[in-house]
Amino acid sequence: MRASLRLVELAGPVGLVLLAALVGTTVSRSNEIYFINALLAVSIVVALYTFIGNSGVLSFGHISFVAVGAWTAGVLSVPQDEKPALMPYLFGFLRDTTVGNVESLALAALVGGVFALLVGLPLMRLSGLAAGIATFAVLEITNNVLRYWEKIGPGLTTFSSVPETTDLLQATVAALVVIGAAFAYQRSRYGRQLRAAREDPAAARAVGISIYRQRLGAFVLSGALAGLAGGLYVHFLPINADVVYLDLTFITLAMLVIGGITSLWGAVVGALAVSALDSVLANAENGIDLFGTTVDLRPGTRIVVVSALMALVLILRPGGLTGGRELSLPRLGRSRGVEG
């Protein structure tokens, strides 16, 4: 009984992602972009969920891990001969090192995790509003440094000539890896301890749980997952420091809140639902053009609708679309029985 319950909780998110990927293979090349985008959103939102959902502590800072992952993978993947033109002031070891696609993604996850560890060591002592503002400060500082420190990246310039390796397959595999990691974590002893601490900090302390240590663990894991998503992002679009800043923070938080903060199922549903809505609106708004500048210049109606929806969900259904619950047995019939 317990094993089958566990399977359902994993099968729901996995099934939904596979379904999105399958539909993605049937559409035209230009529309495929929307599906890749949605799957990347799943990775980022599940990474967010791993910390926020399990700990109940708000973080506005996770997009800085996405940014750091993107910078790592981007700087290390630009072809050797194009580096001097794009990033003339780079540190020697970054200038002379160029790695392959998979290595760059692994390093993005590693650097994201290490950065989260460094940030989390002091910050995980905070909770509530102090934690919210402190993580916001991390986002501000990261964005500020990435913008101007040209020894570690292109500064204000857009990351061009990074090999565009993120396709539907990679985005799907990555989303599944992130979901798998998040599921394994929340089922583990550590994940359960952190969720217990979220529900009742005093009782958790009383049974010997170190809230600080458990939060730090979740923070590092979610930082690594966010870093991986960032690596995929830079291999997908020519991004700059402003892409991985406030707007992305808002939209990913919106996805998590709309889906339901406290469940993996909610994170996946929220990411895919908002992405679908966003894509339809974008299509209706300005044809199929999605790249670089157009996204920047014409967020128009899309953000109006998404933010209105987010406010509405919060007012009418504070638990989100899924009520913050995992997928449970009676609803199994709706997902395509996928092997966990």
């Binding site: 109940g56 502590v57 708000l58 002091p122 910050l123 002592r125 905070l126 909770s127 509530g128 509003l129 102090a130 919210g132 503002i133 402190a134 916001f136 400060a137 991390v138 501000e140 500082i141 964005n143 500020n144 440094v145 913008r147 101007y148 808002f250 938080l253 919106a254 809140v257 210049l297 967020p299 128009g300 109606t301 953000i303 109006v304 933010s307 209105a308 987010m310 406010a311 919060l314 007012i315 504070p318």
Partner: protein, 311 residues
């Protein structure tokens, strides 16, 4: 090694203590203090951090720019600004704050985050990314000579306006029935309701007072930055929010002091740091914010042992 560092430090101190820099920094602190009070008033009564406060100011800025483009007089523009900001505040209170009353602070913060983006994207649809220009107020931005030092008129106006507003607010809170109700609600909303404080009226009053302050700030900011864009006052709001939490949210005075302090510090650092370092100004300011939060999570100016946080 210590030579260039010492001379750099001396240069920094010299620059930072100039009268002009001080007046500018104090006026920035005064504007931020007004915003901090506006955010703190609503937080006191509703326990809600209004992230969308900057968008109220942005709307006021657009009203001023609109009046200026129509060729209306400055006073009509200011009146329009007040009407727009107050109307928007009341709509926000009725449509968002009131239904969310009693939710956790995190949920309310994210909700106002959504409202902020909603208003910003509406402005983007309406006015475009380049925004509008409010030219008619620009005369206040000229300088006057005080004892051989050039000081912008608006700096003085901002300091005076902040002092007057804070004085009036103090009178409101201390000398009127509605002020008494607001203070009671800030102390304990539930008990205040039990003894007959009307919840909707008191939250409406707090939002209204905070809207008046937003309108004043809109005028003061638009004089200094006449180009009003959809992201107008967004950066300022983020910095003030940090300042308010750093100062201490639990008391209005400490929140105000926090807002003033962060404005003053950014003003001085922005003027006195050499160019190549001043681009890292946000990092310095937010680094300080993190440091203070780690050392005193309850706030720099908070008093005594406070209650345990509820989130």
């Amino acid at each position: 090694m210590s030579g260039p560092l010492a001379s750099g430090l001396t240069e920094f101190v010299e620059r930072a203590t100039e009268l002009q820099v001080q007046v500018d920094a104090i006026s920035l602190g005064a504007i931020f203090a007004l915003m901090a009070v506006g955010i703190g008033l609503v937080f006191g009564v509703l326990r809600l951090i209004n992230f969308a406060y900057g968008q109220l100011i942005m709307a006021g800025g657009f009203a001023l720019a609109f009046a200026s483009e129509q060729g209306w007089s400055v006073w009509v523009g200011i009146a329009l600004c007040g009407v727009v900001v107050l109307a928007l505040s009341l709509v926000m209170e009725r449509a968002v704050f009131r239904p969310l009353r009693g939710q956790s602070p995190a949920v309310m913060l994210i909700a106002t985050f959504a409202v902020a983006f909603l208003l910003q994207s509406i402005a983007l649809l309406w006015f475009g990314p380049l925004g509008k220009t409010a030219a008619s107020l620009a005369t206040l931005n000229q300088t006057v000579s005080v004892g051989g030092v050039e000081i912008r008129k608006i700096a003085i106006v901002a300091i005076v306006a902040a002092a007057v507003c804070l004085g009036l607010l103090l009178l409101l809170l201390e000398r009127t029935a509605v002020g008494l109700h607001m203070r009671a609600a800030a102390m304990d909303f539930h008990t205040a309701r039990l003894v007959g404080v009307r919840a909707n009226r008191v939250s409406g009053a707090a939002v209204l007072a905070s809207g008046v302050l937003a309108a004043v700030v809109a005028v003061l900011l638009t004089v200094q930055f006449p180009t009003v864009t959809p992201t107008f006052a967004l950066r300022e709001t983020i910095i003030v929010l940090a300042g308010v939490v750093v100062g201490g949210m639990t008391r209005l005075v400490s929140a105000t002091l926090g807002g003033f302090a962060i404005g003053y510090v950014s003003g001085v650092l922005g003027a006195a740091l050499p160019t190549e370092q001043s681009q890292y100004l946000p990092s310095f300011v937010f680094g300080l914010v993190i440091l203070v939060l780690l050392l005193r999570p309850e706030g720099l100016f908070a008093r005594g042992p406070r209650t345990v946080e509820r989130v």
